[in-house]
Symmetry: C2
Subunit: 220 residues, 2 copies
DNA sequence: ATTGATAAAGGACAGATGTCTCGGAGGGAA
DNA sequence: TTCCCTCCGAGACATCTGTCCTTTATCAAT
C-alpha cells in the first residue's frame, strides 16, 4: 500500500483499521476526476500527476481556475461548504489519487485533529492562491495571462518546448478570452521573434521574453 | 460575557477556563481590523457590524475582495497558510469582534475537533465565494461591477439612498477600475434617469435598474 | 481529381477601458 | 474681493478585446 507515499506528501498516517476503506484511483489525461454538478463522495488526495481546475459559466464558457500538483486535495470545499461540485477537476497528466470516502471522514477522521489540520492547511493554501489569482486576473491583460499560462504548463520536468495548437480554443476559454485574441497576440509574438508557429505547434524561441511578459503571474 | 451571542452565531461554546483569555475588540468605520503586512496574532470572530476586505497591489492599487457580515472569521488563512496578512480588513460599520489569541488556539483549540470544524466551514465558504467572484470579475464589465458594488453596500438596514461621492476614487480602485471610467458610467446612468448626482452625492432613483444591471453579482 | 464540409487565421469593425489633459467650481488666504 | 490651489468632470485619444465574417487550408468521400 502507498502509506509511505501518502505519509511523505501529507505527513499523516492512517490508522490500520482505516486502510481497507481507502482506495487508489487512477485517471488519464483529459479524464474528469470530479465533475461540476455531481455530488461529492469523498476526499481526494493527489499522489502523483497533475490536474487542472476549471469551472463552467452560465455563458457556456470555461474559466481556468488553477493547475494542481501534489500535495493537493479535492472535495474539501464541497464537503464543508455543503454544496455540489462547482468546478471540474480534469487530469492533464496521469493522476494517481487516494480516495477517502465521505463516510470514513464523517465517522473517524472528523474527530482527528491532526487530519483536520491537514485539511485546514490545504483550504487556507487554496484560498490564499485563489485570492492572489483573483487579483491578478482582474488586473492582467490577456497577453500577460497567456504568457503566464505558457509558463505554468511548461513544467520543468517536461522537456518539450512545444504546445499543441489544436487546443488553442481550449486555451482561450481557459484563460478567459477568445481564440481570435490569442491569435492576435501570437501573431505579435511571432513578428517579434519570441515564438514560431510550425504546423500544429507553437515553438517558443525565447522563454525569457515570455517570462518577462508573464510578470511572474502563475496559475498555481 | 457574550457567550450566548457567540454561541448563537457560531454554534460553539468555549469552555470556562478559556473565557478569561478571550477578549472583545471594537472598531469604528474606516478603522483597520487587520492590516496587510502585519503578523497575525489570533483569530477574529465578527460578532456584529460589517467590514470589507481589500488588498494592496504592487501597482499601489487597491482591489475590493469582499464585504463580510457575521458569521465571519479573520486570521484563519494567515494562520494555516503560515504567512503574513495579505489583505486589509477595514470596518465599514462599527464592528464588535471576539479575539482568540493564537496561543490559545495552539494550546487548546487546535485539538478541539468541533472548533476545527467551525474553521473548516468558514474557510470552505470563503474559498467557494472567492472562486465565484474570481469568475465573476473575469467576466463582468465595469458597469456590472459598479452596480453590484452599489447593491452590496446598500445594506437593507441602511435607509439612506445616498452614497458619498467624495470616495469615488476609492470606489474605483475597489472595483478595479479608474475614476474616469466610473464617471463615464455614472453619466450614462444619469442620462437614463437611473441616478441623479446632487452635490457630493449619488442619488439612486431606480434601484430596479441598478439591480438589473448588476446581474446578481455581489461582493459577498 | 473534384467537390463539399470543417476548421484555422486573420481583416474589419465596434465597444470597453485606461491615460493624458484641460477647463471650471469651490475653498482658503491675503 | 481677488488670487491661487486643489479637485472633479469630461473631452480626446490610444489601446485592448470581442464579434462577425471572409479567405484559405485540410481532409474525406465520391
Amino acid at each position: 500500500m502507498n502509506q509511505n507515499q501518502f505519509q511523505s506528501i501529507y505527513h499523516y498516517t492512517f490508522t490500520n483499521d482505516l486502510i481497507s476503506s481507502l482506495s487508489i484511483k487512477n485517471f488519464q489525461p483529459h479524464e474528469f476526476i470530479i465533475k461540476a454538478g455531481d455530488k461529492i463522495e469523498g476526499i481526494y488526495f493527489l499522489l502523483s500527476g497533475r490536474y487542472m481546475v476549471s469551472s463552467l459559466e452560465v455563458t457556456g464558457k470555461e474559466l481556468l481556475l488553477r493547475f494542481c500538483q501534489q500535495p493537493s486535495i479535492m472535495g474539501d470545499v464541497e464537503i464543508f461548504a455543503d454544496c455540489l461540485i462547482e468546478s471540474n477537476c480534469i487530469a492533464v497528466e496521469p493522476c494517481e489519487i487516494l480516495f477517502v470516502p465521505l463516510e470514513v471522514y464523517e465517522t473517524h477522521l472528523k474527530y482527528d485533529s491532526e487530519f483536520n489540520q491537514l485539511l485546514l492547511k490545504e483550504l487556507a493554501y487554496k484560498l490564499r492562491t485563489c485570492t492572489i489569482s483573483s487579483r491578478v486576473n482582474a488586473l492582467s491583460p490577456v497577453n500577460v495571462r497567456l504568457a503566464a499560462y505558457l509558463c505554468t504548463i511548461h513544467s520543468p520536468s517536461q522537456l518539450n518546448k512545444y504546445i499543441k495548437t489544436n487546443s488553442l480554443d481550449d486555451v482561450a476559454s481557459l484563460i478567459g478570452t477568445t481564440k481570435r485574441h490569442l491569435n492576435r497576440i501570437l501573431k505579435d509574438w511571432t513578428e517579434s521573434g519570441i515564438i514560431e508557429r510550425v504546423e500544429e505547434e507553437i515553438h517558443i524561441l525565447n522563454w525569457d521574453s515570455i517570462k518577462e511578459i508573464s510578470e511572474n503571474v502563475r496559475f498555481e
